[in-house]
């Protein structure tokens, strides 16, 4: 088929549907049909991203310097940094929520990441029934956080199932505890439940990382007379580095967004001990309709998440 006949066929199709000839392509300049088709293919996604991701972010940035309210007859006024001053100096519930969120993340990240790795190592053994165990450990991930939160709210009641189990395990010594009603245990209870729900997801991520390590590496090391611990420490762990970075960053970002558990189990209480940043954003920006203030809190939240992500990338980057 000659180039001319290819062009003729192409001319009969739509503009976005045309393709350059191989010869043009090899010369390395953009053909006009490829240019047009490329833009046409990307445009729906770009428009939606601008409208629903970038747009709200820009609106949020602009609103954070105003006293805008969700439904209000009065036009919003520019108030400068007033919202940020209020957040950090006059809103102890917000500063407490920032602290709570950091505590939550600081507990969930190592627990979920670590337990995920332990589970992955267990189900990576070549033993009968490993698929069944994999399925069981993964089951909570499939179950919605809304469902899990409601279920555990019931389990955590005074003399509920958690208390009964502890009482049974300790031979009746355990006195019973209303986990979510006590400021000293409420956040811990939410941490345990959150790890329980999310750990299966990261077990799978770790497992995929483990399976990229060829068996030959372990076999060679075994021939050299290494112990299983040495093989784990000097082969498995270093080779899991990329997986480690992914797990660390994804759990941190997810943990910083703590919301559903708080909304369903405690409403931020008792005594604000479980209130989180996103919970405050929704309370102020939506429930109390102070959208300007809520936007300012969102901006603070965004800066925190961005800073953490960049910091973790930097700390975990290869030194070469």
């Amino acid at each position: 088929m000659t180039i001319a006949s290819t062009d003729r066929v192409a001319a009969e199709t739509t503009a976005a549907d045309r393709v350059p000839t191989p010869r043009r392509r090899r010369r390395g300049d953009f053909s006009r049909s490829e240019q047009r088709a490329g833009v046409a293919f990307a445009i729906p996604a770009i428009v939606l991203l601008l409208l629903f991701v970038i747009g709200p972010a820009v609106v949020s940035l602009a609103m954070s310097f105003t006293n805008a309210r969700l439904v209000s007859p009065v036009a919003p006024e520019f108030v400068g940094l007033e919202n940020f001053r209020r957040a950090f100096t006059e809103d102890p519930v917000f500063t407490r929520s920032v602290l709570n969120t950091f505590v939550f993340a600081a507990l969930v990240v190592p627990l979920q990441g670590g337990l995920g790795l332990v589970l992955a190592l267990l189900v990576n053994q070549k033993i009968a029934g490993r698929n069944l165990f994999r399925t069981i450990y993964f089951l909570p991930v499939i179950t919605s956080m809304v469902v899990i939160s409601l279920l555990w709210r019931f389990l955590y009641q005074a003399d509920g199932l958690v208390d009964s189990a502890l009482s049974m395990l300790t031979g009746g010594v355990w006195a019973g505890q209303a986990w979510l009603a006590d400021p000293s245990t409420a956040m811990g209870a939410i941490v345990v439940m959150s790890v329980w729900q999310g750990v299966g997801f990261h077990m799978i991520i770790w497992l995929a990382g483990l399976q990229t390590i060829p068996d030959e590496v372990y076999e060679a090391a075994a021939l050299d007379g290494t112990t299983p611990w040495e093989r784990f420490r000097y082969i498995t762990l270093p080779l899991l580095k990329p997986t480690f970075v992914f797990v660390l960053i994804t759990i941190t970002i997810a943990a910083m967004g703590l919301f559903i558990q708080v909304d369903i189990m405690t409403d931020g209480g008792p005594l604000n001990s479980t209130s989180s940043i996103v919970y405050q954003i929704v309370q102020k920006g939506f429930q109390q309709q102070q959208i300007g203030y809520g936007a300012a809190l969102s901006l603070v939240f965004f800066c925190i998440v961005l800073a953490l992500a960049l910091l973790q990338r930097r700390l975990t980057r290869d030194k070469d």
């Binding site: 066929v9 996604a45 069981i136 089951l139 992914f246 919301f259 809520g294 965004f302």
Partner: protein, 297 residues
């Protein structure tokens, strides 16, 4: 080493921790299913023994019947399935086309668009949710009364407010682009020789070769998107009308007047079982999807 070669003692040390962990992950779910069949009185009476996990005593489906009296369950479930389907299906089209353009086509502005999409990956949905509500409350929409188009302002209380904002997903675009890059070079040239245009090449050649990534994005969308099966906060904020609400928001109805824990357990069992069934049926695909999400860095 296979299971057959494990000596009994060693087998105990392998299986004991795994079994204890399995109990830890299963006990709340087993409790939920058992409690959904019991009266509140029975649930509390059984709490301090292993009876809590078994369907024993006075067993009935009364809680399930009561759920149907309290909420329009099928309506809620239908809404969730419809929204999940739309977000996922439209997302596959929009995100894969964009991923294809980024991975295999050369056009001016491509590098800028790619950088811009990667940058939005770090913008968590939670950070923009409040201005999002404000934005969608003021967006125009063209509705049809019969065949006559009518301009409406405000997307609150609609299906499209639950769908359109969540169609595009930077991570999905990224996964598609990565996969398309791994396909052999020269597919387009071969197709062009046969006179196929870009759209036909994409549809007839690229899509059939890329089933695994379409499966991965489908599963990740259904399981992790804040607008599909697990949608809760967004519809809570934007949809007040009962006819349009999804199943997760339905839990609210059980805490308005008298809370019956038996009914709560029945309701959450009903919204858990379909998803678990889908998971068991497509288990291998689920596991592979999540694994491949972690391998892309």
């Amino acid at each position: 080493m296979t299971a057959m070669t494990l000596r009994p003692r060693r087998r105990l040390w392998v299986y004991l921790p795994m079994t204890l962990l399995a109990v830890f992950f299963l006990f709340p779910i087993v409790f939920m299913l058992a409690a959904s069949l019991k009266s509140d009185h029975q649930i509390f009476a059984d709490m301090d023994s292993l009876r809590a996990f078994a369907p024993v005593g006075e067993i009935s489906f009364d809680n399930y019947t009561a759920v149907f009296d309290r909420v329009p369950f099928w309506r809620f479930l239908g809404n969730t399935i419809f929204v999940t389907f739309m977000v996922t299906a439209l997302g596959l089209v929009v995100n894969s086309l964009c991923g294809y353009a980024l991975a295999r086509m050369r056009w001016k502005g491509r590098a800028v668009v790619f950088g811009f999409i990667i940058a939005t990956l770090i913008l968590p949905f939670d950070t923009t949710i409040v201005p999002m509500v404000y934005l969608v409350a003021n967006l125009p929409w063209i509705a049809f009364e019969g065949v006559r188009p009518v301009l409406e302002i405000g997307w609150l209380n609609t299906y499209h407010v639950q769908i359109v904002p969540f169609v595009v997903n930077a991570f999905s675009i990224f996964l598609f682009a990565q996969y398309f890059k791994s396909l052999p070079k020269g597919l387009e040239e071969a197709a062009a020789m046969d006179g196929a245009g870009w759209l036909r090449t994409y549809w007839r050649i690229i899509v059939p070769l890329s089933k695994p990534v379409f499966a991965t994005v489908t599963i990740l969308t259904v399981v992790t998107s804040p607008a599909t099966w697990n949608a809760y906060l967004w519809p809570l904020m934007t949809v007040q009308s009962e006819e349009l609400r999804p199943v997760m928001v339905g839990v609210q109805y059980f805490f308005q007047l008298d809370t019956s824990w038996g009914e709560v357990m029945a309701y959450i069992s009903m919204i858990t079982i379909p998803m678990v069934a889908v998971f068991i049926a497509f288990q291998r695909a689920f596991i592979q999807s999540i694994a491949s999400a972690g391998m892309k860095d």
